[in-house]
Symmetry: D3
Subunit: 154 residues, 6 copies
Amino acid sequence: MVDVGAKAITAREAVAEGRIMTRPDVVRLVSSGQAPKGDVLAVARVAAVVAAKRTSEWIPLAHPINLAGVEVEVRAEENAFHVVASVKTVGQTGVEMEALTAVSAALLTLYDMLKAQDRSMTITGIRLLSKSGGRSGQFVRKGGHTDAHRDTDE
Amino acid sequence: MVDVGAKAITAREAVAEGRIMTRPDVVRLVSSGQAPKGDVLAVARVAAVVAAKRTSEWIPLAHPINLAGVEVEVRAEENAFHVVASVKTVGQTGVEMEALTAVSAALLTLYDMLKAQDRSMTITGIRLLSKSGGRSGQFVRKGGHTDAHRDTDE
Amino acid sequence: MVDVGAKAITAREAVAEGRIMTRPDVVRLVSSGQAPKGDVLAVARVAAVVAAKRTSEWIPLAHPINLAGVEVEVRAEENAFHVVASVKTVGQTGVEMEALTAVSAALLTLYDMLKAQDRSMTITGIRLLSKSGGRSGQFVRKGGHTDAHRDTDE
Amino acid sequence: MVDVGAKAITAREAVAEGRIMTRPDVVRLVSSGQAPKGDVLAVARVAAVVAAKRTSEWIPLAHPINLAGVEVEVRAEENAFHVVASVKTVGQTGVEMEALTAVSAALLTLYDMLKAQDRSMTITGIRLLSKSGGRSGQFVRKGGHTDAHRDTDE
Amino acid sequence: MVDVGAKAITAREAVAEGRIMTRPDVVRLVSSGQAPKGDVLAVARVAAVVAAKRTSEWIPLAHPINLAGVEVEVRAEENAFHVVASVKTVGQTGVEMEALTAVSAALLTLYDMLKAQDRSMTITGIRLLSKSGGRSGQFVRKGGHTDAHRDTDE
Amino acid sequence: MVDVGAKAITAREAVAEGRIMTRPDVVRLVSSGQAPKGDVLAVARVAAVVAAKRTSEWIPLAHPINLAGVEVEVRAEENAFHVVASVKTVGQTGVEMEALTAVSAALLTLYDMLKAQDRSMTITGIRLLSKSGGRSGQFVRKGGHTDAHRDTDE
């Protein structure tokens, strides 16, 4: 695990997104609040926060980081759920892995809660949208957030 | 967490896959053993096994399961790494979440170890390939494993 | 940790309850869905399930158990939230610690999510309601569930 | 998880308490060192420290905090054990959840180690006694510590 | 992680030992109950049990196992503490890693609690004493337990 | 857990070592890349990093620390594997427990991956080599690193 001890302590933020593709009727089941396992989106959001805090246990060489804040949005689309996670810290190393891990955990949790309805769901387009703070400076994905629907064409 | 106490104890297996898309020169860097953080593929494989064993900590409503075996394959493609994880147990509930979690952890670890080279990597096509054992019977994805290269066209 | 290896493998269940006492206006804030941290009751339920699965990490001499099912109910009362957790397993040792841990985690989570409104909240009456399966036979608390409102008089 | 990144880094402390009610003969069994599972109070103290350090794993929206110190006192009363936990940190967010979690873990551990003697034990009166450091200033419970015996009358 | 799904479910046990070498005055400090950090041996025993239960989190390719029992003995010698851990399960895979992990955790904990007195302590002679159950049959170390003092001569 | 809140925040480092003794043919099996469980040394290195990050979960009274860097070296000797771990942080408390824990986890992992070849392996000579930063100043073991081969004669 590379030494970050000499890096500056700065405010850092990262935003990541991802999608799980499913059938429109599964999306409607969730939106109508009829999913048999209860409040699917609330559980997915909690899963994202919980996983983000423990990212360094998923990723062997990731530094442990005490997160200052995590925000997770899960939004229904026509045939998908779209997850965006935004993570903040004040520290010596960035939080892009935390944002990507939050997104992954939310998407896996959605799969888990809806697999009885659709075992063909595919998780796709997990990627960093932006990143700020730290030596490597600002990163903003070209095309960015608004272009998210086209991510499988790249 | 739904009650599985009355389900039969049977041998169960699940296979899942996923990809992380990157530039060809990043793939070649790893294949040549020159990646600055060392043996990238070995670390990703370990990450997958470690995460699979603790799936019920990442997925709030997943049942804890004592896995009998986990196999992980990470293979370089032209502009991607392809991960396949196969998980086995003998128990009352299936292991598809464990296989999907193993794949996700390997892909996130690849991102972590290669992000200095490419921050635009996208994780894509995480999905169940097959599943056996248990009441819901055999599941095999149509098109299946051999069709994996086309998954971003769906 | 005492040896349970010779005990019979049987279906086991335990039910526990507890309360957190607060002001009526805090209860109403939650019931009306206006609590600033979002869906308080959903998060508390998730916390209970997640903690129950990892009871042996809280309680040093508790046996690790693969839970078959967990159900958690969080109900608003006039000046309290009442949590009931029911835990099932098929194994060699009982799950009363899991039920009590689930209740404790839900109550602590309620405190965490409402502490900006009321720092004087008190957690009270965490106790076993019933237990079945295993050598020591059936346990049902005298007065039991219906008497729960009187537990602070004991 | 709300963003605390802009909060001041200050020394923070919180003190919490709780009780587990049992029969006088169970208290005497522990005090005489005859409890079958060994040094009950020592194990409860360790459980409290271990749980306090991992509070953010039990409470979904709690911030991870690197504790600077934890002190736990477990004292026998006539028909109860009384636990007081005092937790310190230097950071951006308070430690009242850590103090309450430490108390809860100690009380659950006492239940676990004495349940063969008394399955009717009730955990009660878990609450914050005081809190200092941070924007919201000093909190001291009215009646406070000396009044602890009356907590079930509130 | 190799597949153990076809192995027989049998009662299995493993016993391991290890030592931490220190100065005689440090041993006497602990034996007299004057060590500044409190009941050193009790904490070491708890650490061993807690670590044994989570062995598969420390050892990447170890199978998760629900332990049926753990016993730990920590004994003062003239210039060392001697730890013996005995672990039992009923399952498909052996528990020698759990016994070795329990011993390691107890020894590391002793180091931690006594390092202010002696930073030159050395942990030594961690090894399997015996193992039973499972396909590979009985293992008993030659010379065995009684010969433990000579383990550095092998 | 003693209060370290008033200690200075400084750069701290600790280096520890240890060995696992085995037969020369087992060492050669690993060196030749023929070990049945794959890349033994890579897995041991990952295990060391992962365990170091979570030291406060192994050692009950160890403070949680966000490590800045971990380096692990596993080297084959004639009849042993030698592990050296170097750990860095910027904080209020030292990292010698993290270095010793990293070494222990690597050695246990080596045992796990080679136990089918040799169940008589002994872990030995786990000790602190050096420590810097913090109030207690510099510690360098007499005889030190170069003398490591003689540690079983003490």
